[in-house]
Amino acid sequence: MMVNVLYFASFREMLGKADEQLPATHGDVQSLIAELATRGDNWKQALLDNQNLQIAVNHDVASRDTRIQAGDEVAFFPPVTGG
């Protein structure tokens, strides 16, 4: 009953973590972010206070309102710069 959480690019470096498993106790992305933001200033800045935060749930673009459940993969990352 876990969700898989991923961090990419500058987020991975800033948060010191590429991925982690968390209990699926959050109804939506917003509530997951709220909990993560309590870990410290870098978490709060990257996820809670960041207007440019990009979110994906199960490989699709998502938003703070997107519902999450056990088995989902949630990813946080900065704006993309490929091509």
Binding site: A9, S10, A56, H59, D60, V61, F77, V80, T81, G82
Partner: protein, 154 residues
């Protein structure tokens, strides 16, 4: 995971002629092939660039690119298309990305390839990190102009 024969994420370089031949294979009614190759510039934001490293989100990348590719096929009458994006370390003048589209008439291939690149730039989960000649590393910032480019197609 789904199979995406027209999407390739790879470390190795690609050969343009080989990829275009593959794209055209079995389509004798193609009249136009437009291809875009993105390459590593030796300068970015005024600084020399020594190394460019491309990171991506495996799984989401393929899904995002296939979605963009299929949307191009819905919008324009195309014969075939392919997207190749390299990952890992690259150096100035290296090829990074190929978008190639074939169609009966040229206009569709021009528009579709431009559309795919504009959407790839803002929707596909790739991130670039530059290393300067002095060893300093920095993440490349997203460009506002890329957001504007995407909006043109709405």
């Amino acid at each position: 995971m789904a199979h995406f024969p027209h999407i390739k994420i790879q470390q190795e370089d690609f050969d343009l002629s080989t990829e275009i031949a593959r794209l055209r294979e079995g389509h004798a009614d193609i009249g136009a092939v437009v291809s875009f190759v993105g390459t590593v510039r030796d300068i970015n934001e005024g600084d020399d660039v020594a190394v460019l490293e491309l990171e991506h989100y495996p799984g989401m990348t393929e899904k995002a690119l296939e979605k963009i590719r299929l949307e191009a096929h819905e919008r324009w009458a195309l014969e075939s298309s392919v997207i190749i994006h390299r990952i890992g370390k690259m150096y100035p003048t290296d090829q990074i990305v190929l978008v190639a589209v074939s169609s009966r008439h040229r206009e569709n291939a021009f528009y579709a390839s431009h559309f795919i690149m504009d959407y790839l730039k803002t929707n596909a989960p790739f991130w670039k990190k530059e290393t300067l000649p002095n060893g300093e590393e920095r993440w490349v910032d997203a460009r506002l102009s890329d957001k504007d480019a995407e909006k043109r197609w709405k």
